[in-house]
Symmetry: C2
Subunit: 160 residues, 2 copies
DNA sequence: ACCATTTGCATAGCCAGCAATGCAATGTTA
DNA sequence: TAACATTGCATTGCTGGCTATGCAAATGGT
């Protein structure tokens, strides 16, 4: 029968949403510092992870794997093309789609970049025991799944 | 004796940093949907939480409490002033500092806004048991502390 | 065959975060 | 007290996230 509403004020330092934002910013700062020497920035990282597994994907396939909105991905790909990480080529069969191909330069960065990400994760998770790490990652996965589902068209004032 | 380096590739869906970023984006999407009807956006939220506890703070005091860089806060405060949430007044004793004061409009939003944030947190954490919730929040706090400490000037190539 | 719909991507414009820099007000020190 | 250092904030310019919108290519229904 827990007291959901506290009498006085919202406790910022115990709010999951606030902590999630803060933690994500710190992860980003840390990764950015480590991949900047490689000429990479954090926004390109998720796209590269997918493309290193296999390129020639369409923009739509990328955004489905990454849960990123389409204009964000279009913008990111434009920067990646500008920076010589990918090239976009028209699909022969469908005139609408642009298939994304890694450049040799991008392929060459895989080992160093993933090593940098491993280092950041290791540094962050070092404060947890191995068991805690597993349940922490599992909890994030479950929360992500929970926040992705539902809210088909609700939750934002349905009647004027 | 765990294998820290996997033989083939980086597993995105088990990377703490990737999951933290994804989770934070989902929290933000959800909160944004709920506070948009109030005329608020997520960037102002942390500042408001601090100011609702007591205003008249300087910009520097705000950024220390929130771990936000100074130009980000200056920009956020400019939007908040534009939107009638705060006013900035020069400190009498020190000609450099601007003290931040909430408007009546901003004060009036506290209950509705914190209720919205509570709803988001409750929805996200509903997939965890009470015990899991506590350890999850604790883990985030510990990781935040770990990523904040150290790295005084290191980790990004110390010699040219 | 035609028109409407759907699909894939690009663009515009905003918010939020950052580093780098500028500058005025205050402190400090020789 | 004059020169220097520090502090507090603003500005510039970038990345990265979003919504809203536009548009061309493909698809479907009739």
């Amino acid at each position: 029968m827990q007291m959901v509403r506290r009498v006085m004020g919202f406790i910022r330092d115990q709010s999951a949403g606030y902590l999630a934002n803060h933690m994500a910013r710190l992860f980003a700062r840390e990764l950015q510092a480590r991949i900047k020497p490689l000429g990479l920035s954090i926004g390109t990282f998720p796209a590269l992870l997918v493309l290193w597994e296999g390129d020639g994907l369409t923009q739509r396939e990328l955004i489905e794997r990454l849960d990123i909105e389409q204009p964000t991905m279009a913008n990111t790909l434009a920067r990646m093309e500008r920076d010589g990480l990918v090239v976009r080529r028209k699909d022969a069969a469908d005139g609408r789609v642009q298939r994304i191909w890694l450049t040799a330069a991008a392929r060459a960065l895989e080992a160093a970049a993933t090593a940098a990400a491993d280092e950041v994760n290791d540094r962050a998770l070092a404060v947890l025991s191995p068991g805690e790490r597993a349940s922490f990652v599992d909890a994030m996965c479950r929360i992500i799944a929970a926040l992705q589902t539902g809210v088909p068209d609700d939750a934002a004032g349905r009647s004027p």
